[in-house]
Symmetry: C2
Subunit: 347 residues, 2 copies
DNA sequence: TTGAAAGCGCTACCAG
DNA sequence: CTGGTAGCGCTTTCAA
């Protein structure tokens, strides 16, 4: 059988409460005793049961990230490894474990609720796509710390961390303008997606600031696949006034767009400039290589974890105040490659 | 405070042992009573504490996957999302949680040991790269079920699941031969890597079966980056007898190789045929698109999880026998694209 | 069919 | 500084 605290107590000839104090490095135990008991623990190969400790302390040193693993083509999925890595890096260093929960969006509310109440985790990191309005209130009420991955709807009453997509779109658009492109098209996405609105807002904002105006004919929110990228460019080329630059929602749209331009014999970046959101997985490997907007997804995860750890520790300190409106925006960075550098410009 | 089993017992006017039986759907409780008590649980919003249950049952309904998250360019990383998804799909359906552990390879042995003994998980899925020889014995001795991701060294005394890399290489090589290519080079990898040996073995085997012989000048085990792919092809082109086909260790090597060939004006597949391991992330998007070997990584994860769940359940039943030598090989599939189809052949 | 009591392994409080 | 005792919330005999 497993060796328990009682075995150690017996072997050391002390009470188990003393052993417990050694375990928790209590200052009331003299160093000599500590070392003696620790030696015994080592000899006997003793590791405390996390469940017993957890039950007694009402704390499990575990954080859960709730996502929908079935959505195989999501933003999260693509960067999943990095986000998880980021979360783990901060959570792990504080001695917490990380559990991954696959939450089907149908009964997400119930799932989150049960999970929190069962005390399987001290805190939750929740992908925005599975967080219903009511679920968040449940959690708040149940007093379970959580932070949302991705800005949550309009009202951001809860701690969340997201990429600053608006700013990203501004950066891309300004770069294109600076390169001398003037008629910038926006392809990919869907009108109802938050991601789209945020990015489109940044694009519009940058254009307006330069007094360029936003031509409604130049946006093609018709999906984010390679095929839709190809189709969008086909349509674009039939326009009376043809854009001279393209901003793409992702690498696959961009790839499709590039392919269409190549098929038509239109050169990038000479005749048409191009920049895409996301630096993965294709941007560096297309011809020409695509300028892209890199986002630090590891940092995103890390930031989310930091917020959460803050909440967990402050739990008793400042319940409401702390939880409210702590949101963080991760700033994306432009990586300039051939696809958006006009001949003659310095890269 | 949280509502506990005692609260329910009180509210229902029964002993807590009765409530416990309801919780576990014991047959000794009449249906009427069960329903009455369940209704009360629902009303009072009762969810049992997983730690208390776990402590009492000595079982936590949790499985951990141990990998080295710091190796950002690993085979695992690339397919991480799929593997995790696969594991979750089987483990989740059985009511188990999945925790991800970042195990630094230095003290991996100690980490695994502590983790198992602390009873944070009922079973472990361990990436082969962090499993030292001694660690495995520790686990066996501690009686903790585990399965290894990736074949473990020479001796496979432990349950493990891996891609059948040898078979994959055979498939690629045979395809190339069938297309009429006769001088097949092998680029990427490192001689000491298992991955390399397995694949090289398959390549050699297929060649020998056709009586082709393996030309030692035609393998370039000099790393798996884009740059090494480029360099390998440069070297290859200077050979007295130049190969007419290339088998690449991964997409990046292949990309580098492709780039070099393009720079030299050598056409693929006309003058040189090419196939790469892995169908992600670039293979479908290069020019020409690369024939590749697709591996079902979701299935890999699922299979590993199935093995593990088997071990967990058999724990009391057949301890040694069951654990030994249960290994599974996932068969990879060839996806034929332009890069390996000789003009004139039917695709 | 139900319940009282004795744990599961650890912490926490309070004497001494 | 140390030890006894009473939990943490649930399960599991064993009688009744």
């Amino acid at each position: 059988m497993k060796v328990t605290i009682n075995d150690i107590a017996k072997a050391a000839n002390v009470a188990k409460s003393t052993v417990s104090k050694v375990l928790n490095d209590s200052p009331s135990i003299p160093l000599a005793t500590k070392e003696r008991i620790r030696a015994i623990m080592r000899d006997m190969n003793y590791i405390p049961s996390s469940m017993a400790t957890g039950l007694a302390k009402r704390k499990c040193n575990n954080v859960a990230v709730m996502i929908d693993l079935s959505r195989r083509n999501d933003f999260l999925n693509q960067f999943f490894y990095n986000i998880i890595g980021g979360i783990e890096s901060v959570v792990g260093s504080k001695g917490y474990d990380l559990t991954i929960c696959n939450v089907p969006q149908e009964d997400s509310r119930d799932f989150l609720h049960r999970y929190a109440l069962s005390q399987k985790a001290d805190g939750l990191i929740i992908d925005t796509s599975i967080l219903e309005k009511t679920a968040a209130s449940d959690l708040l009420e149940a007093n379970s710390p959580f932070v949302v991955l991705g800005a949550w709807g309009e009202e951001r009453k809860f701690p969340c961390v997201d990429i600053d997509n608006r700013l990203g779109a501004v950066k891309i658009t300004e770069h294109l303008l600076a390169q001398g492109y003037r008629r910038i098209a926006f392809i990919g996405g869907r009108k109802k997606e938050h991601l789209f609105s945020q990015r489109f807002a940044g694009y519009s904002e940058a254009l307006r600031r330069r007094g360029c105006g936003v031509n409604p004919l130049w946006s093609f929110p018709e999906g984010s696949t390679e095929a839709s990228g190809y189709a969008a460019v086909e349509k674009m080329l039939r326009l009376p006034i043809v854009p001279d630059a393209i901003l793409c929602m992702n690498n696959y749209v961009a790839y499709g767009a590039l392919r269409c331009l190549r098929d038509r014999g239109i050169s990038v970046p000479d005749e048409v400039g191009m920049v895409t959101f996301d630096n993965e997985p294709l941007a560096p490997y297309t011809s020409p290589p695509l300028s892209s907007l890199h986002t630090d997804t590891f940092g995103l995860g890390a930031k989310a974890a930091e917020l959460l750890m803050g909440l967990i520790q402050d739990e008793d300190t400042a319940p409401e105040e702390a939880a409210k409106s702590r949101q963080t925006w991760i700033e994306p960075h432009l990586i300039v490659r051939e696809s958006s550098v006009k001949p003659g410009s310095a890269l």
